[in-house]
Symmetry: C2
Subunit: 343 residues, 2 copies
């Protein structure tokens, strides 16, 4: 009970195994250029002489951050990309798990409990309370990126300025002369959707435009519901000339609804998205959108975990969103207004 494993030196191991110190070092660093017989001798000496803890540390120097996401959406891909860049520079790793349901989260928690991890980044809607408790029991630092779930004061969260983003998107459309501006929201249960919608309402209020509940459709961040919502909006007798969608994927649903109605973008309808995933540059026309600093959010999350899981005084950080103007928005044109009133 009195031996202190940490005090065993590499020189002592080398002497016991009858090899050179560099050879011990190679074994400790997991290098391939050591003969199997020599490696076995060194490993025996390491084991026998109680080098255990240091050995373990040396052969697994790479810290591991586990990232859990709900499907590998373009949005999640951006987060992974940012986290991976930080991990690479810090000689650490990002272990990615994409789950589609609670059974997946269950499996992941089991796997995590049996493994070493240096921290967890959650990129997903919400953990169920039992899952949250099981994760807490593992006593691993956790950061949630853009929690669309209920904010938890006990957990570090990093998100984007959603209200300001909703405001900027809507003000952009109002500046272009649009007065019938509709919005398709994200899932209503989650705070970021509410914040974006409130930003939209605030912009209308500032411009002294009456809020028209017919112009607000509830979505769920996905394509299909946005397509259905946009088709409804375009059927209104006094249809909107501009639509703010709460995600880029939802904006794609608006594009398709416009096409099915024979409307051209941006001539007949302006569209603003939210996220600025890579796809936003590739769709036709290229999408005007609110850029979420996804890579920066991921960078901050990863650095926080690699530093031990504290961000400083506060448990919630919001990074700014930026309006990226591309080709899906334009000033309200006479033909668009005419086409609308003829409808």
């Amino acid at each position: 009970m009195t031996a202190s494993p940490q005090r065993v030196t590499m020189a002592a191991i080398a002497a016991a195994a009858e090899v050179s110190v560099p050879t011990v070092s190679k074994v400790l660093n997991g290098r391939g250029d050591v003969a199997a017989e020599t490696r076995t001798r060194v490993e025996s000496a390491l084991g026998e002489m109680g080098y255990a803890r240091s050995y373990r540390r040396k052969t697994q120097p790479a810290r591991i951050i586990d990232l859990l996401c709900h499907e590998l959406s373009p949005w999640a891909a951006e987060i992974i990309s940012g986290a991976s860049a930080v991990a690479l520079a810090a000689k650490s790793r990002i272990a990615v798990t994409a789950v589609s349901d609670d059974a997946g989260v269950d499996l992941w928690l089991k796997s995590l409990a049996a493994s070493r991890t240096d921290g967890v980044i959650l990129v997903l809607t919400e953990l169920s309370p039992p899952h949250r408790n099981r994760l807490a029991a593992l006593q691993v630092p956790v950061v949630i990126v853009d929690p669309v779930g209920r904010p938890d004061p006990e957990v570090l969260t990093i998100g984007a300025a959603n209200w300001a983003g909703g405001l900027a998107a809507t003000e952009h459309l109002l500046r272009l002369g649009h007065r019938r501006v509709a919005t398709i929201t994200g899932s209503p249960a989650v705070p970021c959707s509410q914040a974006r919608l409130d930003g939209y309402r605030a912009a209308l209020e500032r411009a002294e435009i009456d809020f028209d509940p017919d112009l607000v459709k509830t979505g769920d961040f996905h394509y299909q519901s946005a397509l259905a919502a946009a088709l409804e909006l375009l059927r209104l007798p006094d249809r909107p000339t501009a639509i703010f969608a709460a995600s880029d994927v939802q904006a794609m649903g608006v594009y398709e609804a416009a096409r099915q109605n024979g409307l051209r973008l941006p001539e007949d309808l302006s569209v603003v998205g939210f996220d600025d995933v890579p796809m936003a540059q590739w769709v036709s026309p290229p999408l005007t959108t609110l850029r979420q600093p996804l890579a920066e959010m991921a960078t901050l999350a990863t650095k926080t975990l690699l530093a031990g899981g504290t961000m400083g005084l506060q448990n919630r950080v919001e990074l700014a969103t930026t309006l990226i103007v591309r080709s899906s928005t334009q000033a309200l044109s006479r033909p668009a207004a005419r086409k609308r009133s003829r409808a």
Copy 2:
């Protein structure tokens, strides 16, 4: 030199540390519910009694597969998603690294050399010969998913049936009555581009349509070059009525070129992509494309590595591609033909 670390039992450790066997088990499994002082005592006993190797194995039961990709494209995201599903079921992990240049690969190789890994999945264009040698020196099983690099008979590779895909894409357009069918290829240096182009040529030959070199434009799998190539194709005096793009992202460039020319899809121009990334369903109109079985390719790669890195008798597996017909292709219409001849 005569001690055999593996023969130390948990009961012996428990006795030495004056704790119960379940407590030793908890420490070995990295559980959090052990008092710090108890944990230290157990770890000392483990170290002293030469439990080192087993200990290491027990606290890191999760195998790790390192996946390296070149940017986190929608294509790479699909592969990661598939690999993650297999890893989750096998209580293993996929460590994802996205690199954008050779310096990134360099860093990744350094990090890999210093860590434990159970296998490597390469999802990227090509490793430089020095990088390839350094990876080989690590003596870790490697699988390349859809190598766009020169096939290496020494390395396991999993890809899609590219030639058959090019053939199916072109035959689909020919069946719809198109005769002026253009193609925008992937990077010419890589075999899958050549295979897709050869499939295109074979379809024309079978239909006894003369190959017109003006209708073949060289791309690089990315958006910008495809947009430029499509703009050139649409400026031809006898412009194509259909374009087969060698990737879905390239098809997006064709969509934008059509829009800039005031052409409607699919009325004035039919477009076929290649890959079937999720985005293909969301663009407007939804894209007809050749589905690469990306998840299946990733599944096979991951299972192969978890099984020790052998696929059986052959070192190259090709999985079938499937034509997915959506709304970007339609039968050659009189108006489209007229519009073309007027141009």
